[in-house]
């Protein structure tokens, strides 16, 4: 194919929400924020990552996340956003696993087998990752994570099912399993 056409095709086909590097940096920032640096402080059940990525990358979505945990009823618009996030998280879950797998092969990250055959993870501190974190670019995501943690204290250790319940099911979002 023409290089020009290929370039245009690539440009059109770019989907930010499914781009590997987008997922990658959000995963890393999330793990760093919850200080998952060793076995004692693992991040329980990597499946949670697939949806938290979307909540942490937009301030609007972070707000919706926080509101979803309050007792009051949420608006239709917010419910549609939650549904959207849930579907997206189902789409990318395999990509998240691929990324975690690659990282673990590179020795940046450690996979631990947790209860009920779930995947627990923690990142190893090394020079490359330290260099990567050395920037103010991700301040936006970090401040969003602060709000997320305030709303959901035990996010790191929470069971996946409980998490889904609290955020999605209790607000009437339709769930499905692959």
């Amino acid at each position: 194919m023409d290089t020009k056409k290929l370039e245009v095709k690539k440009r059109i086909m770019f989907i930010k929400n499914e781009d590997y590097y987008f997922l990658l940096y959000n995963i890393l920032i999330c793990l760093k924020f919850f200080q998952c640096f060793n076995e004692k402080k693992v991040f329980h059940d990597a499946r949670k990552l697939s949806s938290i990525i979307y909540f942490m990358s937009s301030y609007e979505y972070t707000n919706i996340f926080c509101r979803s945990l309050k007792a009051r009823k949420i608006s239709n618009y917010e419910k549609s956003i939650l549904t959207d996030v849930y579907s997206k998280s189902k789409i990318i879950i395999n990509d998240v696993y691929k990324i975690l797998f690659t990282l673990s092969k590179r020795n940046d990250l450690c996979l631990v087998k947790g209860k009920n055959n779930n995947l627990d993870i923690y990142i190893k501190e090394n020079k490359i990752l330290d260099d990567f974190f050395e920037t103010s670019l991700f301040d936006e995501e970090l401040s969003n994570l602060v709000l997320i943690k305030q709303s959901m204290n035990r996010f790191r250790t929470l069971k996946y099912e409980t998490y889904i319940d609290k955020v999605f099911k209790s607000n009437g979002v339709g769930l499905w399993d692959v």
């Binding site: 690539k10 440009r11 770019f14 930010k16 590097y21 092969k105 670019l137 991700f138 936006e140």
Partner: protein, 641 residues
């Protein structure tokens, strides 16, 4: 055409004095060794004709001519002939003036440096020689070619580097030397239609400036008009029609008012008026609700656009983070084995595992930094368009709000009118109605005023547009004229170049043994043997023959060159005596100097003059009869009084 000849020069100061012998037609030789005053002789002639000689300026710090600079009250008297008319030129040192004394005894002073003076010396002498003054433009400056500029191809001065051919520009010349100026000098001296061409060129430049100025005026006029009344562009015809309508309305109202004043009021009439007002109120109310509906729509659109912009900005930030991550952690690539993470030599159209894949699909997850940057750029560009859309939307929103306010105030006014009218019911004269009509008349009159003002602005703008159109047409005409003249001049100069080259080549072959072909190129500079390198000693004959050819052409053809040549010490380091003398002896081959007897004015063949200075024994022996002055250590040029 014109002909210049120097007959005598006299230098007179408090300390020194010199009077030259009579200078004949044909060849005149001044012989002298170095330091005896040869160059002083030719420089004095140049000085007398209005030129600037640095070494004559006592205020300089270096290279001063000792005798002249220490002298005071010194002046030069040059007796010249132009076209057989005698003149005496008087120039005092350190004065910006030359006095010209004509045959009949009348004298006139001319300034040398042009500032704001009408006719300077250069203008006078060029006029006498029949050469039109040509104005060149260079960048922002216009420069009138003057006599000393043309003299650069008449005065073959002593120069260490003869390859430039032309005499160097005077140091007090404020223009810098340029190819264009040198070409113009050649063309004016040897061409015929050139002055016309340069004149048209100048006119063209001037007209272009006029045109641009008028365009600017029109542009700023349009802008001012826009700020005064920011309504859309309405043309003259429509404005006049509106004016007519409004004036008709005004007349109607005035008549109605008269009627009201004179006839008696009845309750029925007032009630009728109230009904009219009520109808108007309803009409406007309907319009208002439509406007409010539109306002809501536009507001919604504006909110959507702003949200969209926010999302786009967020996405741009995220793409920047992606680029950062990609650069810091270059993890995903089609050429890395996902198991051992080693670089793999992957075959085209095959995955790392070996199975067949479509290379283009494979590319899906593997964007390079360049790809990401392209995506970022396109997002940023669309952000700009979004901004435009938001601005437009905001403008529309403000506009609608303004209209709503206007309409609301109109509605309020009608309400007030109705209330006022109801008090008229019992009155004999419908006072309030009359007052309301008066208000309407006032508003209408104001509107008519505004329209009249707009009409006059429109008319002015029309006028400016027409003037611009005329200027454009004139510019086009000049451009075509310039093109025609250009072609004509180019043909003419090609012709001149051919003739020049013919003579020049003949002379060069005789004088330079290594020369086979010689010509001048389109910059009028000599080209020997098609540009192949020639030795330094060849520079002397190359330059000398060039000047001799110029003189020859002036004698044979009808050109502006004034049949005069001033040559100062053609010898430079590098040429040996034999070749120098050979070059100089070409003069009698070209010109019939031996048959020019003294003071011979009748014979046309001698209608030219060469003044040549050279060192002792550095000239052909048979030229001895042309030597008019012999300068030695004991007999220097300037004599003590």
């Amino acid at each position: 055409m014109g002909r210049l000849a120097i007959r005598k020069l006299i230098y007179n100061g408090k300390k020194y004095y010199y009077e030259s012998p009579y200078l004949n037609d044909g060849l005149n030789i001044i012989v002298g060794d170095n330091g005896t005053g040869k160059s002083t002789f030719t420089n004095l002639i140049y000085f007398g004709l209005g030129g600037n000689v640095d070494s004559f300026n006592k205020n300089r710090s270096t290279d001063k001519h000792a005798e002249i600079c220490e002298d005071v009250d010194n002046f030069l008297r040059l007796e010249i002939e132009i076209n057989d008319k005698s003149y005496i030129l008087l120039r005092y040192f350190y004065e910006n003036e030359i006095t010209v004394i004509s045959e009949d005894g009348s004298s006139k002073n001319y300034k040398i440096f042009r500032r704001d003076y009408n006719e300077i010396f250069s203008d006078w002498i060029l006029n006498e020689l029949g050469i039109e003054v040509v104005e060149l433009f260079q960048g922002n400056y216009n420069w009138k070619i003057n006599f000393t500029d043309l003299f650069r191809l008449i005065y073959h001065d002593q120069s260490a580097d003869p390859s430039n051919i032309y005499k160097k520009l005077d140091t007090n010349h404020f223009m810098s030397d340029s190819k264009m100026m040198r070409k113009a000098i050649f063309e004016i001296l040897l061409g015929k239609s050139f002055t016309q061409y340069y004149k048209v060129l100048l006119d063209l430049k001037r007209k272009e400036k006029e045109k641009e100025l008028k365009k600017e005026i029109l542009k700023s006029f349009k802008e001012i008009k826009k700020t005064l009344n920011n309504s859309e562009e309405i043309n003259l015809v429509y404005l006049e029609k509106e004016l007519q309508n409004k004036e008709i309305q005004l007349n109607r109202l005035l008549q109605y008012r008269e009627k009201l004043k004179t006839t008696n009021n009845t309750p029925a009439k007032t009630i009728k008026n109230i009904e009219k007002e009520k109808l108007e109120y309803l009409r406007l109310e309907l319009k208002l609700s439509e406007l409010k509906e539109r306002e809501r729509e536009v507001y919604k659109e504006l909110q959507q656009l702003k949200k969209f912009k926010e999302n786009s900005e967020l996405e741009i930030r995220q793409i920047q983070k992606i680029i950062y991550t990609h650069q810091k952690l270059n993890i995903f690539s089609p050429d890395i084995c996902p198991y051992c993470l080693n670089q793999v030599e992957r075959q085209k159209n095959r995955c790392v595992c070996g199975s067949e894949i479509n290379e283009d699909d494979y590319e899906r997850f593997f964007y390079s930094t360049k790809d990401y940057i392209e995506i970022l750029k396109s997002r940023q560009k669309s952000l700009e368009s979004i901004d435009f859309a938001i601005n437009d939307c905001e403008d529309e929103y403000l506009n609608i709000k303004k209209n709503i306010d206007q309409m609301q105030s109109e509605l309020d006014k009608i309400q007030k009118n109705i209330i006022e009218l109801s008090t008229d019911i019992n009155e004999q004269y419908s006072f309030n109605r009359i007052r309301q009509i008066d208000d309407k008349i006032l508003i209408l009159k104001q509107e008519i005023q505004n329209i009249k003002q707009e009409i006059s602005l429109e008319k002015r703008r029309d006028q400016l547009e027409k003037e611009l159109q005329t200027l454009n047409n004139e510019y086009e005409k000049l451009r075509i004229e310039k093109k025609e003249l250009e072609i004509q001049s180019q043909k003419e100069m090609l012709n001149i170049r051919t003739i020049f080259s013919e003579y020049y080549q003949k002379y060069m072959i005789d004088v330079l043994k290594s020369c086979r072909v010689a010509s001048i190129n389109d910059d009028y500079m000599p080209v020997i043997n098609n540009g192949i390198y020639h030795e330094k000693s060849a520079l002397v004959p190359i330059r000398l023959m060039y000047f001799l050819t110029l003189l020859k052409l002036s004698v044979e053809e009808n050109v502006n060159y004034p049949k005069f040549l001033l040559i100062d010490t053609p010898q430079t380091a590098g040429i040996d005596d034999e070749n120098l003398i050979k070059a100089i002896s070409k003069i009698d081959d070209i010109f019939d100097i031996f048959n020019c007897s003294e003071k011979n004015k009748i014979d046309d063949n001698c209608s030219f003059q060469i003044i040549l200075t050279t060192a002792k024994d550095k000239y052909p022996i048979n030229y001895e009869k042309f030597v008019i002055e012999n300068l030695t250590e004991n007999n220097k040029l300037l004599k003590l009084k």
